[in-house]
Symmetry: C2
Subunit: 189 residues, 2 copies
Amino acid sequence: MREAIPDQILTAAGALFYREGIRAVGIDRIIEEANVAKATLYRHFPSKDHLVAAYLQARHDRVIRSLEEVIEAEIAPRDAIKLIFERLHEKADSPEFRGCAFALAVAEHGDSERVVSVARTHKTMVRNIFSAIMSKADSGSQQASAHLSLLYEGALAIVAVGRDPSAVLIARDCALSVFDTAVFTKQPS
Amino acid sequence: MREAIPDQILTAAGALFYREGIRAVGIDRIIEEANVAKATLYRHFPSKDHLVAAYLQARHDRVIRSLEEVIEAEIAPRDAIKLIFERLHEKADSPEFRGCAFALAVAEHGDSERVVSVARTHKTMVRNIFSAIMSKADSGSQQASAHLSLLYEGALAIVAVGRDPSAVLIARDCALSVFDTAVFTKQPS
DNA sequence: GATAGAAGTAAGACCGGTCTGTCTCGGTTG
DNA sequence: CAACCGAGACAGACCGGTCTTACTTCTATC
């Protein structure tokens, strides 16, 4: 067995969901791509909604792990921010990039509590990543971290529609500028 | 006749598309809500894709007109920015707000050239609005206008998922800060 | 201004296709 | 033998889009 079956299904479903959209991809497409029987899929995921949530959860884990690596690496907060945006730029500079998977999923399944919940958790944790970085800069500005995540999400949204990855670099420059003024004008605690 | 039939259809379709999603709303729902026969709909809009594009176009016209009013009003650039974000906050502070209709549409129909084209045009024009405001501030910083639209889109994206309209106010504060530093550090032309 | 015809409309049957989800069957593997 | 699996038929609903039928409304011509 090359791979556990649930992962096999999630891999196929995830690629299709992100590339073509969730509603646009039927169960039949997924089981064909995953080389799996329909009953097998429904044994592991009781409904398509569950499968979508699991796909988002897997993506969430992956993205957050990648961001936490940046935090755990002992690099200066300013460079961490730079790195995060430049990693995003790399991803955005690819024809198959379609924007934030969680925003896409909520756009299609905004009425599914299961889906929205994972997406919200993800956004909250991304904000917390920026918050952690800013607190390492010993300028406890929670405001600045909110600004950074705003720029991060804005870059994702603009690239999703306009497909021009340079927006991410512009966001990076603005983020660094926000960081600098936040640190420069920091309040003594 | 209370209203031209195409507008009647567009009104019903627009409300349903935005509220529940484009793929989630079938033609039957639209014609029922618009009190119109199916053949009538297809006489005015040759396909659902055309109808979606027309819905986006109508929304585009409305939003851009509202933004241009801000420009044409003789108010200071800084106040114009403030006003734009506070108007967005008003809209976001409503249970039926679901985020940027164009981002939602692209998420669902990213492969439709007709749909993507309207969405891209919209995003470009929004950026141009900020650009026009910044050039009135006689600091020709195109960079700052890009930052402003980044914050604008970020606020839309975050509210779309998190449903917390206060993100728009945070974006406003950041935008004003960006504006101030851009004007303060402007280059002599 | 009356009238014939063209055009627009509502209502809904209908078509072929696709959707999610269930079920059966027969094979394979531990 | 028991649990899982692939393949696929099947159900019931819904999809976008076409077409028919009967009715209304507008328009052009006399």
